[in-house]
Symmetry: C2
DNA sequence: CGCCATTTGTACGTATGTATT
DNA sequence: CAATACATACGTACAAATGGC
């Protein structure tokens, strides 16, 4: 009945000085057409310019720093941020960590989106992948092979770089960053799960080789199949874990924001540390 | 050569009390398995519990509030946030507003992602759309028609609700929220552009009707075609605007994070307000 | 209705650590 | 090393909003 958005009206009456300051800083960046890395006025200057105290300026700057709109270097100054998706990563990662019972669902959704992005762009990826890109991808798989089981860190880094290199030639910064952001979230959340068998490194390497092979042959269908094969075991493990814990509800169709499962609400919680 | 991530190492040496406090609050939420809406300790309690001053507590809370991990109600208290994607919207919107010359590119990328999501999930959408969903979609288009040109606000709200209803039955909260987040970003950024002809309301309504029709007939290909037809004019306008301003570079292949276009860097900028 | 307790918002002052020059 | 500029952190006081009495 009411198609308007549910939220977004909490402090609309009074924008709260801090938000005004934040908006002023954003306007300053926009009006002066600053680019990432450009210096911003110091806190003291902002105080006098905006007529607010340090507290408000600092809080506002911190909020902008979280959004990667501003970057603060201690003892150096504040600068225009890189406008990345770090906030998305942090927010999604926390969401994933928060619902450990329903956690598998969040991760499953994440994998689904990653697969959707890469498979949906398969044809365009194949069309834009240059021979040097293919060589680079092969090199990354080789490096994964070298790291093997010794260096899990490096192994993961190669995996990330592989998917980065896969999307990069498309020239769409947004999809590249989104894809990597989801990769990061998965890397953060997955280790905190129980019941997930460890990554199968040999299988992962084989999957990536199959992906490169299909790409080299220009076989779009094979490319999609290889990608699906790469994500399939993860999806299966997630599905198994969900059914094992009995936390599965296939026909959810919730409002995607409210959690209907209502347990007791702690009126006053325990110790904090 | 170095496949590790470029950023994320600014204050790794010294986690800066504020971040420690933020982590402590997040841990508190996680350890006590709180849900959105649950109350959190007051700032004073956090001060004594974490042994930090109120300034630090406040700054930490504000950063968490930006990420929608925490919600602050003045004169009331702080509560667990809704864990939405508001940070993504704000960050992407600012990015879009910041590069007005290259702006069309950001919006074009945005549209591409929206189309990718909806088209890539077309078959699954058709499989899960119930008759009542189709009726609701038709009702939304009718409402769009009613609002017409009088109420642009309501028209946009119906458009948003339409795409929301389209994705909702899938049961994947992440894709639903992502889709809507991108819609929001577009709605924020698009009005600030020049050279973009106004939305064609009649055409938009016809597009949505075609989408519902294809969905009702279970025609996946027609569904995808209808969606593409919906986004096509926007893409074309964006492409025209980009070529018109001469800001087009088809074979970009940048690193997706650094802006190679380097102009002069203002050492010290002008007035702020 | 006013009053009051609680809680967050804003302001100011001061001291300390850090990086640059 | 000293001087400077900046960010960090703490403490206190008051203002404003909310909810219950």
């Amino acid at each position: 009945m009411n198609p308007s958005r549910p939220q977004e009206f909490r402090t609309a009456v009074r924008p709260s000085l801090r938000q005004e300051v934040a908006e002023a800083i954003k306007s300053y960046i926009l009006d002066n057409r600053l680019k990432p890395g450009d210096p911003l006025p110091s806190e003291a200057e902002l105080c006098t310019a905006l007529g607010a105290s340090r507290s408000s300026i600092r809080e506002a700057v911190k909020t902008l720093a979280v959004l990667d709109i501003v970057e603060v270097r201690r003892g150096h100054g504040t600068y225009v941020g890189r406008l990345g998706l770090s906030a998305l990563v942090e927010g999604l990662a926390f969401r994933g960590l928060l619902s450990p019972k329903d956690d598998f669902r969040v991760l499953a959704e994440l994998i689904e989106v990653r697969e959707l992005i890469e498979c949906g762009l398969a044809e365009r990826i194949l069309a834009t992948l240059a021979p040097e890109d293919l060589d680079a991808l092969d090199g990354l798989v080789d490096e994964m092979d070298l790291r093997g089981a010794h260096d899990g860190e490096g192994f993961a880094a190669c995996d990330r770089a592989f998917h980065e290199r896969l999307m990069e030639p498309l020239g769409n910064r947004l999809v590249s960053q989104l894809s990597l952001a989801f990769w990061d979230v998965y890397a953060i959340v997955a280790p905190h799960l129980q019941g997930l068998t460890a990554e199968d490194e040999a299988g992962t390497i084989a999957d990536h080789r199959a992906i490169v092979r299909a790409a080299r042959e220009g076989d779009a269908q094979g490319f999609v199949r290889a990608l699906a094969g790469h994500y399939a075991p993860v999806r299966r493990r997630l599905a198994d874990a969900r059914t094992a814990t009995g936390a599965a509800d296939a026909t959810d169709s919730g409002t995607a924001d409210t959690d209907p499962a209502g347990a007791e609400v702690p009126e006053k919680a325990a110790s904090i540390a």
